[in-house]
Amino acid sequence: MNLPFTDNPYKTLGVERSASEAEIKQSYFALIRQHSPERDPEGFKRIRAAYEKLRAGGDRAQTDLFLIDERFSELKAEDLQAYAAAPTPLTLETINRDLVTLEAQLLFEEAVSR
């Protein structure tokens, strides 16, 4: 039995980056019950290695420093902001308005420069 292990010890132990020492320990014990050294030696080794990086007295700060922040890897609609305006529908009226404004501008520039 193998788990989808990654280099991220938090993922290996199935805990959040903000997990407390107690939570890390709890998750570690739960995992090694499932992946005991006899049943899954490879799995046990990796769980153990992940725990070593995060356990109290280990160098969790060092581990954290070299872990990519993966909070933003999944693209979700709610993370995006909506733009307030929609494109103006192109009708004869709107086009006409644009063209009149444009011609009025040309006339103004021409008259001013005269």
Partner: protein, 704 residues
Amino acid sequence: MQTDPKQKAALLEEAVKRVPNDAHYLTVLGAFRLSQGDAQTASADFQKAQELSPENASAARGLALSLLAVGRSREASELLKPISANAGDENLRRLEAFGNWLADDQPPAQALLRGLQLLAKGDADLAWRTLGELPELDHNPTHTEAILLATQFFYGGAANFQAQRFRQAIADWREAQRLVESHKLTLPWQKQLAAYYHNIAQQTWTSDPAQAIEAWQAALKLLPEDKVAAHNLTVVRRALAQQAWQAGQIEQAATIWQELLQLKPQDESLLQNSAIACERLGRKADAVNHWRALARLWRQQFKQLAEEAGFKQRLQSLEQRLLTLMMETGASPEELLEESEATLKFDPENHDLRLKTAELLMELGKPQRALRELEQAERQRGASAILLTHKALALDMMGREKDARKAFEQAHAMEPQNKTVQVAYLGFLGQQANEAMEDEDDELAIEICETQLRVDPIYFPAIGMLAELYFEDGRKAEAKALLTRLIEADPKRPQPYVATGAVYLKNNLKKDAEALFARAIELEPSTECFFQIGLAYAESGDAKGAVKHFDRAAETAGVEMLLQMGMELFDAGKPKDGDRYINKAKKLDPTNPMPHFVKGLSVIRNPLSLIFLKDKDRQAMNKNFAEAERLMEGRKEYDSLRQEIAKVRRMIEGGPGGLPPFLLGNDDDDDEFFFGADNDDFDDEPPLFGPPRKRATKKSKKRK
């Protein structure tokens, strides 16, 4: 000109009030009002202008436009017909076509109007094709042409947008925008562009994130303060970077993160990810920049977050990593000091860092400040052997030698086996012993050497110096006993035999020396061993003995050793033997310019020879230098050698007055001159074989 439309209108109204019967001012005011969407008032302005000046084509044009604005297109057409026919004015003709198009609903001749008609009817495909028919221009577009062309591009883009051809739409708008920027235009449709870009991005971010990114980037270019575009762009690009990282595309991830940092330079997550990616890619200098920025941010937050679990430790880890990396990338001591002092402000209890800071301060020649740091460290944690050693070094630098010695003694008493303490203490004492010898104070020199030997009973520089002092004072038996101690401490290695033999040779105990050399060769008949024995002979003035051993070494020696031996023999007055080694070095590495340089220099190693330099020798020197220069061509690593050759040439021209110290025999670093500071084989460290030559030279000069 005023930019605020209200102010502009007020100014124009004031002008009309002051000169109420001027048709021109009224036309300008009307045109401005119409451009701002106030068709009713504009119409009255134009009417009054036309009443005042019935022949004024601009007023008529304005009036027609205000009629078009309120949907009275037929009236506008009627009004324009007679004037445009007579005036031959392109603007009027265009306006008439515009009026006709709106009044008659007939297909107009101009591509723009035809395209717009199709667009208004919802035939996006045909509209796009029609709007794509651009007028042929054989010149750069005029202001008016630019306005019309940009407008055509804009609506072409709108047609593409309607047909869901987003990429082409963006390309059209980019063209429109280019014209707007190059002609500094402000056109009515410009404000719609952002909405289009956002709409495209919203429609495509799931299916085609690259397309969405392009659209948001375009929106952001249009309005750099567009926060929605900036936010969404960051979110999507960030996700793409994460995905790239997870797929092992580190380079791509790093590029995106670093680009995003341009938008959000204070984003901790981006800084951290960029630093990690740069480290993974081996770009240490970039990693340092990102870590430094992150460290600055975290330090600023220290007061608020100091209590947060793990924050302080993370910051300490970061600082540690940063300093290591800065040292690896060759950061200057100034930069390192700046970083470590900044860290000490928030982490004043960091003892190791305080010691490191003191070290850096000493490195920068600031022993007083270093001492202050060390004293603070001592107050915080008490004295330790290492701390006292640092203090001693600082005190020594400040010229307080007695205090320094006291501190070294305390450090050594605290941890007699500590190698760092020992090395620093022995070095300090060695310096003191040299000074005593220079002052001809043999007693003090002996006392210091004896102290050194209490610290390290087989410290060779002390044994060598002490043995020589004993020999000079006629204490032969003591000297021999001392040297025997050196051999007994390490009897299976050749080094102590050679070193002792060298001292014997200098003190005319040739037979004893030969016995020791024979034993050394027996233990290790190596190139290095023969070389060092040869060197001992050369230094004692026995050129024959030197050649005998150098010949054995030369069988397997490398270029640098061959050159060293050659020079020794030139110095010893054995030029033919010296030449043999130089020639061998040339054969060994035909691309190396050094043998040619050394050979060229050999003719002037004696300053007197410069005065009597024969033409033949000068020619030989020039020939060798020329060959060295040929071999150095295009090789930057030989820049300093090139300069040296030029310097020697200048000196030859200038006569003996311009001789460098090494030629006059009062320079201690002539080996460095020949081989550069990187040559580990010939540096000034206490030699493993043979006595410290420098000290012997000084002694022979200074002592009676």
